[in-house]
Symmetry: C2
Subunit: 487 residues, 2 copies
């Protein structure tokens, strides 16, 4: 395993040194990781927790790391020794991988000594931002196929480096993809691997027929022939049919064809008809080439005959939105006397004001329909009693309150790490995929659709609402009292 | 070092098996790696060669890999044994890292046994696509700053996984960035690391002044204070000035401030004036927050007073174009008798028709100005004589020819690997950056500007032009003669 401990921003270390020199580094604090609202994000599928915890629970500055840091001339020896012995000793609460989540929700909350909590920021964000981004895109794409066929993740060559391909494939599975072309990801995460042939295979033979025949010799029962190297309908499909007929005569069952260019709606309909007429109604048609959720929608609307979808660049890079606005913010300091000092970050942009305090996250389900109605951010100590009506508060627009009744409450944050020890068993990737699909099925389509979805409510509890707006009022009054230009 | 050998698409292995079963796997072939023309790509900065060669020259299927592949039930034992012993034994020709390159140019050409050349595709594309993408974005961003100050790469938390952060930082340096916040990248590639403080540091103290003072205690001579946590001009800058005055009195030289939100043009001008008036004209103003080449242009047009630029998400993800259209295509089969069979991929989309043959790449410089005038793709055996006028041909629009004279020719492809052995010494990252800057300075601004740049010519030599259009004519005539619907 690579030692990724130094996968951090320099300022995490210089701030750590600042805390250390001022004797604050072991204060116990809480931080929340959450996504800011952005265009194109209606819901997200949380992913990356397992790798994030892998990082957190294995960090260690080895001799080489300490020597490198020493060479920067930014830290004293005492601090370097402190780092050398530093391990993660805190607690982590997080939503499970595969959980549908919404902007503003604390999808991971950490409670740890300040220096550790601060140091964890960069890698946690890097890993969770990335996998959540791709799982979300995969979910949108998979939902767009509307059950017509499996989604195969084909993007490795266009991924932003090896890890983007490897962990991107993992995240794509969480979001609903069935397989990946990435052999290393297949090996690492026990994901089904898939693939057919490339144009170069066809080009390497004098004729298309000879290429197909050669591939069929190697894979008589699983050959998926790429038919668009020269001329799809006049050469590719007829040559594939010829080879399929030979295979059939030899007692094999041909698998199908792949279309990688041209108009996939027209070509798939024509190819389907040709295959059916030739006696191969069971031969599959796989398509690929710059597909995303919108093009898939559009092809299906036009009656395209497609049995499986190979999705490359636009999934593995989340092309229309290549990053999530994940942030990680200090929410409180837990004092030694058992009290706590909540922390809030103000901003002229009201949506950027953070939610203070050590918090928790719940989902409220309607008891009649079983469907999700709203999520609720609370203070950790608050108890949500689902036997009576509850008032919930809009996080920014303070005049908006809402009373819910006849609901069932479900806690979304789970304890993952306690005192530096993993206390959670990570499910298999297939279990995560299944869980995600099941959780998503509890949301009305109105919340999930691509264009102008209904906004799903993420509200504040009574306690959190009172704390947050109390703090804002307090700061406003202090500022007004001072009434001076410079503090 | 991680064994990334299986970082490949499954079809590279199934095709390899197809070649093997049909006795074609050791045919010697040539492949080219090149970028297709895309909107937003005017020029690119080639990057990633060192890591790509690292992959190529270290590939080996270890026991675990073979066991995994065996478990897929796709390959016979003979083939698995063949893979186990397979090492790269071919040649690689490539442009140097940092070289400005243009769509359609073979930036890497490989000559190797078919099974190896095919197998290399996925990882070469993954690594070179990614680093070239980020080096290109970094070049655009760095050029936009117009010498006003250093560019610091700050994007790790929003990168698409660890490698995207690590190798993205490396590529950012090639494109012109001065430093990175990424400590691991700093350690791995000897890149200067940079960083200041985060809002959470400020929030962790009762007052902003106390936070600044604490940081200044740790770094009296290098403190760059983040002044926008509460109110930039009424609190942040005045508190920074107060601490700077204390530091000055103690004999230190304060470094400067960072602005991370709000209107950076207005705030930087105001902050500059306040710092100057307080006697700190040498204090730097660093800005960050969703910057890219266009916003930088715009801020500078408005007279923003900025000394350094922290660039995050939009650089590390190349947000407006998160992938390059890099492809890798078979160009010829080298026969045992010394002849070769050139290969071409046709397409209804004329820009997707490949250039056949084992090729080379040259740049023509005007002898008078020293500036680049055109690039020329040739057949490997062609000799370009720059002592007399030369006719060059548009790669697609066949009626466009162009005569060049009084030029100097420079070969762009260099021999990197010969018979599986590295024969090239990789320069340091700083040398690559310097080389890139120098090469770019030989292009007229007209070719490089962001909006509607003049198209730089990438033409074909006489020999390549004749080969390509001869092959196209030939195929057309064959098809016409057949005159039948199905082949």
């Amino acid at each position: 395993m690579r030692n990724l401990t130094l996968l951090t921003d320099l300022y995490q270390l210089t701030m750590g040194y600042g805390f250390y020199k001022n004797g604050k580094h072991e204060e116990i604090v809480t931080f929340d990781l959450f996504f800011r609202r952005r265009e194109l994000i209606t819901y997200s599928i949380a992913a990356g927790l397992e790798q994030a915890m892998d990082y957190l629970l294995h960090w260690h500055f080895d001799e080489e790391d300490i020597a490198y840091l020493r060479g920067l001339n930014l830290f004293d020896e005492g601090f370097l020794q402190y780092l050398k012995e530093m391990r993660f000793t805190g607690d982590v609460y997080a939503v499970r991988e595969g959980e549908p989540v919404f902007p503003g929700e604390p999808i991971l909350t950490i409670k740890a000594p300040l220096i550790q909590a601060q140091f964890a920021e960069t890698a946690l964000l890097n890993i969770i931002n990335h996998q959540t981004l791709i799982a979300t895109k995969s979910s949108k794409i998979t939902r767009a196929t509307n059950g017509t066929g499996a989604v195969m993740e084909f993007g490795l060559r266009r991924a932003q480096g090896p890890d983007a391909g490897i962990y991107g494939a993992r995240a794509a599975i969480i979001g609903g993809a069935s397989s990946t072309s990435n052999v290393l990801a297949g090996q690492m995460f026990n994901i089904p691997v898939a693939g057919t042939m490339a144009h170069s295979f066809v080009m390497d033979y004098p004729t298309e027929y000879e290429a197909f025949r050669a591939y069929a010799n190697a894979y008589p029962d699983s050959c998926m022939l790429l038919v668009d190297t020269y001329d799809t309908l006049r050469s590719g499909v007829p040559n594939a049919i010829k080879v399929f007929q030979e295979l059939k005569a030899e007692g094999h069952t041909p698998k199908g064809i792949r279309l990688d260019s041209g108009d996939l709606a027209y070509l798939s309909k024509q190819a389907r008809q040709m295959l059916d007429e030739a006696g191969f109604p069971e031969a599959k048609i796989c398509v690929s080439g710059d597909l995303d959720e919108r093009l898939i929608n559009s092809l299906l609307q036009q009656g395209a005959k497609i049995d499986s979808w190979g999705i490359g660049t636009k999934l593995i890079t989340s092309e229309d939105l290549p990053s999530l606005g994940g942030v990680y913010k200090l929410s409180s300091i837990l004092n030694e006397d058992g009290t706590s000092t909540p922390k809030i970050k103000l901003s002229d942009n009201h949506a950027k004001i953070t939610n203070p305090g050590f918090k928790d996250l719940y989902r409220l389900y309607d008891r009649e329909t079983g469907m999700a109605g709203a999520d609720l951010i609370t203070l950790k100590e608050e108890v949500i009693d689902d036997s009576k009506p509850l008032t919930i508060f809009h996080p920014v627009e303070t005049w908006k309150q809402h009373e819910v009744e006849n609901f069932r409450v479900e806690k979304l944050q789970h304890t993952i790490v306690k005192d530096g020890q993993l206390v959670y068993t990570f499910p298999t990737l297939q279990e995560v995929q299944e869980f995600s699909k099941n959780q998503l099925s509890k949301f009305w389509e109105e919340y999930l659709r691509l264009d102008l979805p209904q906004l799903y409510k993420v509200d504040l509890s009574n306690g959190l609402h009172a704390l947050k707006f109390g703090m804002i009022d307090n700061i406003r009054q202090t500022n007004a009292k001072k009434g001076k230009k410079y503090e």
